[in-house]
Symmetry: C2
Subunit: 351 residues, 2 copies
Amino acid sequence: MGGTTMASGGQYDRHARVQASASAFALDIVRRAAEEAALSPPSEPIALADYGSATGKNSLAPVAVAVEALRARDPRPILVFHVDQPENDFSTLFSTLRSEPQSYSLGAPSVFGCAVGRSFYEPVLPTGAVSVGWSSAAAHWLSRTPAALTEHLWAPTARSPGAAPFAEQARRDWHSFVRLRADELRPGGQMVVVVATVDEHGVCGGEHVLDGLDHEARRLVSAGALSHEEYGRMVVPNFFLSRPELEGPFAHPELRGRLELIEHVRVIVPDPLWASFETTGNGAAFGAAFVGWLRAFSESCLFGALGPGRSVDERRRLADHAYGELGDEIRRQPEAARCAWRMAALRFRKR
Amino acid sequence: MGGTTMASGGQYDRHARVQASASAFALDIVRRAAEEAALSPPSEPIALADYGSATGKNSLAPVAVAVEALRARDPRPILVFHVDQPENDFSTLFSTLRSEPQSYSLGAPSVFGCAVGRSFYEPVLPTGAVSVGWSSAAAHWLSRTPAALTEHLWAPTARSPGAAPFAEQARRDWHSFVRLRADELRPGGQMVVVVATVDEHGVCGGEHVLDGLDHEARRLVSAGALSHEEYGRMVVPNFFLSRPELEGPFAHPELRGRLELIEHVRVIVPDPLWASFETTGNGAAFGAAFVGWLRAFSESCLFGALGPGRSVDERRRLADHAYGELGDEIRRQPEAARCAWRMAALRFRKR
Ligand SMILES: C[S@@+](CC[C@H](N)C(=O)[O-])C[C@H]1O[C@@H](n2cnc3c(N)ncnc32)[C@H](O)[C@@H]1O
Ligand SMILES: C[S@@+](CC[C@H](N)C(=O)[O-])C[C@H]1O[C@@H](n2cnc3c(N)ncnc32)[C@H](O)[C@@H]1O
């Protein structure tokens, strides 16, 4: 699991503008969830859960929207559970909650953030406890790497070579994720999940984002700096499901009676890094921003998979080299890194 | 605040046998608290809070005892909130909860650990949420260093030179701590706090534990390796209150009507490191164990206070030197490090 943990020390947050803009369209959706969700009995705090929070910066806006909607209904204390893997950098999360000017807990003495360090593919909170759930850019991370991917770093869609085991794992993981959240929601509680998806042509709009890095990794293999075995182990375990696949669990006999899918909103997200580049024309800045974003989510799974004999310094040096070269490449060919992510937001209700 | 954070990466836990044995006498007391505490409404999880958890190993036994007593009364899910400073190593805490054989959450699918990274001298949980509270070896850490202590590293009792501002700060902090917990307890909820204390002669039984290190630090000053200013900033911000001082808040007009002090148990704790030494006669092992324990709680406040120009490596080298010399010294004179801590456990109830 550690392999899919985001960069620590605020590095993920500094480079998570892409994820922020990819979930911004869902802020209205989480507001509706908070307006309609069933609450705990009057004497008890209201529980909100954020599944896959990383170090928290991108959770501030959706949680603030939900808190505002809940506050309009009820003055009670609110507990916000930020769930991520045990290896996540929770100290940065807590300092973000405390110090970021946009933090939902500043000037809100009755909103309390806390953390759960456990995989969201297991139960992480008491049955029936959660009034409002949120998860963004997290549930498309698989619970494990289901098969070796010896010829590539990534197989994010059904059209990617070698993707079949990833697709299968993603369908299972998504079913588990939805079933577990159905347990944790209170009856009448609501949840919004934002994930990358593919459109009716099977396109996710970012299938090429690891191509340049793949090229650099192969060059390291040719140069003898990485072994074939190491390259074979390097993989980013994402897979992006289609509309029918995402809706599958809600029609499944096990869940049909327990959950109701209320909305499924699908968008193509304009690339925020590209938009800056169009304004400034600064290719070097675009390359740096792209590589910063890519590195923050991929370094730990890719370079953490190198041979156990590698020191931390060696891993870092190899990563510095590969991401560095990639930055130069993108400065020369910015168009190659432009994305148009297909994103889906599903809002559902526990019956 | 960062200054009083315990060592990370499991180092605190590996050296926290002294704290474990200093709170073991309170396990029966926390059992009684859990047997008698008022619980949440039947549909809601039961909340337990652990204030000053560090990386969690020493929380496992008291939480397990409380969970067992609660389970005997009620099958509902239990949420355990581990509170510590934002800088605490929460990843180690979560991996301890998941993997330690004695973890209360192994084989207990309905007990959920979570973390709050916030100073317990502020509100950290919703008003009226907590059924059972626990805090061990934490509330004798001050909220801040109230004054420079230029001639020593520590002023833990009223008899220590320069202690007056520390005593004053400790009384204020203790009052705040109790008042804040009174807010967080639900009516009928109970809490047990274990702290070091002084007996009727003003003795805590460990006043000498920093003497050897103080000596090494002064030698570093004489040798020019530490500046006078740096030495002046080095301080471990603890202060140990007496029986009447600990009972003070419960008689204070602000709290008298809200809290009832049920038990105040006071013990002298046999030194577990010394007991091993008596069995084995191994002075080097005793020195290493003593220094490991001392370093795990004091390195961050003492060597974190050095001049801002010091690199991480320099701080570590100076600390290695000082704690290393101390180990040699104690091997030669084990008796000088023997402790007989006076500990107090207070059990109280929210009316
Ligand atoms: C790309 S980040 C998204 C962070 C944030 N929600 C956002 O929108 O920017 C994905 C997060 O999901 C977390 N994650 C992935 N798999 C997980 C799992 N099985 N359990 C808990 N968290 C997981 C990762 O650790 C990471 O912090
Ligand atoms: C000696 S450790 C005790 C850990 C554990 N309870 C035990 O009995 O071994 C003291 C803990 O209290 C925490 N602590 C000190 N001041 C604190 C504060 N103001 N807020 C929260 N935690 C604090 C420290 O960070 C540290 O982890």
